[in-house]
Symmetry: C2
DNA sequence: GGCGCTTTCCAAAACGTTTTGGAAGACAAT
DNA sequence: ATTGTCTTCCAAAACGTTTTGGAAAGCGCC
């Protein structure tokens, strides 16, 4: 197509000058620059990304590897994150590469291929784990990355996260205030950082209220997982009056389990989640939940990864955001009829709770 | 890192020979090839993709542009498609590039940037429309693509689709057989091809049964859309006894609307969807739906796009697959207690109904 | 010993960009 | 006139691969 060479010969300039004119170097005359820019636009010139990557040694490509089981990927949170990250990256002329790999051997093989094959320049890591092989590897290789969620490591690293500990603490307090005494926690696998934090928030609130934090079960953060755990917990001799679920998907499973036993969710039993996925507004009753405004987070994640690529200081890239609580019918906290949606929460409170320096 | 040059000098061979040895040309001695392969593995050689792309003129990159509204992307179907397509492409050393753009100006700008900037070699197009600008553009440019869904065009094009017309026809027949007479259709916008087909299937069955196909409403294929339409339709003087929704998300909204009016879904009113998203199993009652096994479709889509890149004949790349019906509680067709899941349907009937030659 | 045929290898060009290390010219100061 | 300083431009190398068009060596055959 239109190469730098064509452009140059058409203008009667050297290819060097054209290149530098377009890149805004000071060493080309103003008149020349304008002439070049005009011609470039007229001829529809677009630099060849392959050539640029080859010469520069880096391509503007960010990889997003979904830690997903073979064919299952139904995480509304990640979906939304994906598109917002993609939009933001595209705005800065960067490409988003999407891959999927189940945690474990396959997953690391993907990272190796991408890093060693120079296919990606930076990574976005989601669903972080306490001990996270991915993070250790990228750190060792010196490849920039940003995490959605935290991990256990001595070195500083860039991340953005919701304050799950605080969010679940305050939720639990609310339930306690409403008279609940036996509150169960349906957890996601605690090797996932977010699960441990949410669990800790619940536990802290329970202990502060002198209540036994003894009903904890753990399963995959899916409808199926929540469904199974709820059944198990509701079987116990001293049935809890509230089920705090680590995620909305689990809560939706739990609601179904409770209903199958003839319990009226919202009055007989309170059930809550986290994420505010669209389905949460359409359960019966609507699901009490909390959220980290995904769109803003996605854009921020993209900006952070771009900052990392630009060599920004790591310590400016750690953010913990407050969660927006959305009490709804499933915890009996609202008497509203019909569907309770909170699209406006997207625009709601969104501030950095803590700029942590690790 | 390890370049071809390093490898060559280390082996005492020319860079040409090393390249050809690794590419399996006949003109290198067996002994040499083995020596080269061994050294390549030992030194961890990986061809630099940028260099390769530059020289070859094509990069192994497939773009997937999600036609999504600003920050909203909650289509479980696309999510699942994404990961399976990604996996399959990765298996063949291809990259999947993800972008998002709302239909209209922005969307076409993305296509222009990708095509003219040589950032993508092929496209996967989803949520096809009757008149589809994307398809017209790619055809004009001669860029390979594969559609998930059909479009109206004289020229042949590669696509894979579920037989929505037949699926909704047979669903409607089933409902009629169960005694329903006033059956409403809650449609997605009919400029989307799939919506028109599903609508047509319902209409054909209604007419064949001498029933009035007069309750049709149209909205976005979201929970919110289904919710609004259901309310509107249930308001009418002669309330329907069944609501056939174009998608599961709409059906979930409709279920909520019916429940809000005190109707018992499954007995007072039947509600059905399409897609078999995970939430469909956890509604109350479980949602009657049908599905196109997404994993298989995703892999097939990837294979087709690879075939297109390999120059395969278009006419071998048109497939319409039969849908798997899953009757569940929301249409009163099953008396099963509890959650009805059909994960096994993934492995179920899956055959090409018709290999169409356009 | 000249010719042709195989087999095995390689030098060099090319892809389109960025960047290095000047060169040429204008102008001012000496 | 020489020297120095700016400003503006450019030739050429480099990034790492693939591919073209041979070359060299070995062998058989007349």
């Amino acid at each position: 197509m239109t190469s730098l060479r064509k452009l140059a010969s058409h203008l009667g300039l050297s290819i060097t000058t054209v290149s530098r004119a377009l890149d805004g170097y000071a060493d080309v005359a103003v008149a020349t620059r304008e002439r070049v820019e005009q011609a470039a636009k007229a001829m529809g010139y677009r630099p060849n990304p392959a050539a640029r990557r080859l010469r520069r040694g880096v391509g503007e490509t960010v990889a997003f590897v979904l830690p997903t089981d073979p064919g299952h990927f139904h995480e509304p949170v990640f979906s939304e994150l994906l598109v917002t990250v993609g939009e933001e990256l595209a705005r800065h002329e960067h490409d988003l590469m999407l891959l999927a790999a189940r945690p474990g051997k396959d997953e690391m093989a993907v990272y190796h291929r991408l890093v060693e094959g120079r296919r990606a320049d930076a990574f976005i890591i989601v669903r972080t784990r306490h001990q996270d092989e991915r993070i250790a590897y990228l750190m060792a290789k010196g490849v920039p990355f940003v995490c959605h969620g935290r991990t256990d490591t001595a070195e500083p690293y860039a991340f953005i996260d919701g304050d799950g500990e605080e969010g679940f603490h305050s939720l639990t307090q609310r339930l306690v205030a409403r008279g609940h005494r036996r509150i169960a926690f349906l957890s996601a696998p605690t090797h996932l950082t977010f699960a441990g934090l949410r669990l800790a928030g619940w536990r802290r609130a329970m202990q502060a209220a002198d209540l036994a934090a003894d009903i904890v079960e753990e399963a995959e953060p899916t409808e199926e997982g929540g469904f199974a755990l709820a059944h198990r917990v509701l079987d116990s001799h001293a049935r809890p009056t509230a089920l705090i679920c680590a995620t909305d998907r689990m809560a939706i499973g739990a609601i179904r389990a409770a209903a199958d036993r003839g319990l009226t969710v919202g009055s007989d039993i309170a059930i809550t989640g986290h994420d505010n996925i669209p389905a949460a507004s359409y359960c019966q009753p609507s699901l009490t939940t909390m959220e980290l405004p995904t769109r803003l987070i996605g854009a921020r994640l993209a900006d952070m990864v771009l900052a990392r690529l630009g060599g920004a200081d790591l310590r400016d890239l750690t953010e913990i955001h407050g969660l927006v609580q959305m009490p709804r019918g499933s915890s009996g906290e609202t008497n509203l009829e019909g569907v309770v949606r909170t699209a406006d929460a997207q625009e709601a409170v969104f501030e950095v709770t803590e700029g942590r320096k690790t």
